[in-house]
Amino acid sequence: MTASTATITRHRADRLDGRPLPGLRPLLRKDLGEWIHGRRAIVVLLIVSVFMALAAANSWLNAWIIANVPEAAEAGASKVISLAPLDNVGAAVASQIFVFAAIFAAMSLIVRERESGTLAWMASKPVSRSSILVSKWLSATVVLWIVAGLIPLGVTAVVVTILYGAPPLGAVVAAGFGIGAAIALFVAVALAASALVASQPAVAGITFAAFLLPTIVTAIIPFDIAPYLPTSMPAWLMALGTGAPVGVVTPIAWVLGLAALGVFGARRMADLEL
């Protein structure tokens, strides 16, 4: 075997008896089990739910302060932005706390296993490294979508209904999918970064940079590039849910972004020295 033959056909090495992604199902069961046995999901659920509920209640709290504490209102400490139900669901979603939670929860998924040696253990089994990566991504996305997206959004919807009235169901459902799209993307960024660097702070740094960069770039560039960014997917879905006109560029950018991260992560994983 020469150096060139050593790198032959990654796709062949990623198959077993012709089946792609060998070992994906048991790995997925194991990764989901790990989420269930750990405390991270509970911590994320509590923090994100409380934060989003408070963000949704912010306008109602300000209105209450204005009505009951005249000094604060005169000093301009409080002002009511909107008491419309949908606006306050939007305020909770726009806080993007679920993205921070996703990055916090996903940054250690590969790195910790690499440090402990369980990644090498798994990689010595008849599974492909792509299976390991896909399993991590799928399990983290599903669990985080539930604990950092759907449940907190449900709590938010209840709070909004109590304080402002029922928000339009379509918009709430769209927000749920939007949060899922954002979580899927940033978990993928964190995993791809984990295949590139070996420390949690470095993974967190890269992923937060990917989170903040679009905001900075869109502020600097004189024309609107937001629709072309995969990070705009939650806003696109929210717009779709409220019946606003939307194009197809953003979902295409989101799919392409995920695919690029997947290919990059899989290639890096295949080359990792364990």
């Binding site: 075997m1 050593a6 077993l16 008896d17 040696g117 253990w121 010595s124 089994k125 492909s128």
Partner: protein
Amino acid sequence: MTDDAAITTAGLTKHYPGVAALTDLAIDVPAGSIYGFLGPNGAGKSTTIKILAGLTRPTRGSAAVAGIPIQAGAAYRREVGYLAQEPRFYDWMTGRETLRFVSSLYPPERRATENGVLTTLARVGLGDAADRRTADYSGGMRQRLGIAQALIGRPSVLLLDEPVSSLDPIGRREVLELMAELKGETTVFYSTHILEDVQRVSDHVAILDRGRLVRAQPTADLLASFDQDQLRVVIGGAVDGTAVGLASLAGVLGVELAERDGDIRNFVVRVQPDAAGAVQAAITAFAAERQLTVIENHVVRLGLEDAFLRLVTPKEHAA
């Protein structure tokens, strides 16, 4: 490559920038053998095992297990059971769950039944600890669970990286006994720097030094090859000229005075290959001529440690 080789490597090389970890390793590991891979720290043992486990890619060269080349990826790793130097498992799983999980990673025809999982755990002495979390296992228990998980997929070869180096004497004995039990059932390829263990359980040995193979042969042959080249000769009534006289005998390469007690002198006589018998006879005749008493005149049986030290260059001398 021999037909019955479980592991075959040819020109296997791994170079990191500025470090030649392994250079041109060529070995054939007979199927069913317990193959000790011996070398000092930094000799390239772990690098070799990691390449064979599919964890790192060689810079060049080839390796195959049961005829399946390493590039086959998952199909290759199906034939390999790997135990890391300090095995780590998911600490929220029990021993039973760990084996179930590992078994589920193999194709259906290789998967163990629940009974198979329990039998394997019992075999490594963990039957009573099957439902304890692995986080609560001792070092020896983790090592035995490591062997169990490596065995559960019925691989052609077990690759054990320093399986006993971190264990206490009891744990070490248990793991070595377990390895010895596997002889003939599967091929065990393990690295170690503990010579006594190799001599105790290995039927074949390869010695690696500075990333290069120094010797690879059956353990008994390796030791026998050194047995034939050294005699211990104890002579009573010896004088200063006795050593010179012994050195002049045909087939003698050198004579060294090892010990002296009055006129009894103990010599180490190095002889040419296959000349031990003739030299022994010549020494007997030499002593008779000079009216010396031959107290001992026999071939020195070297241990693996002596053989190892002769084959491996001390670092300070090689630098």
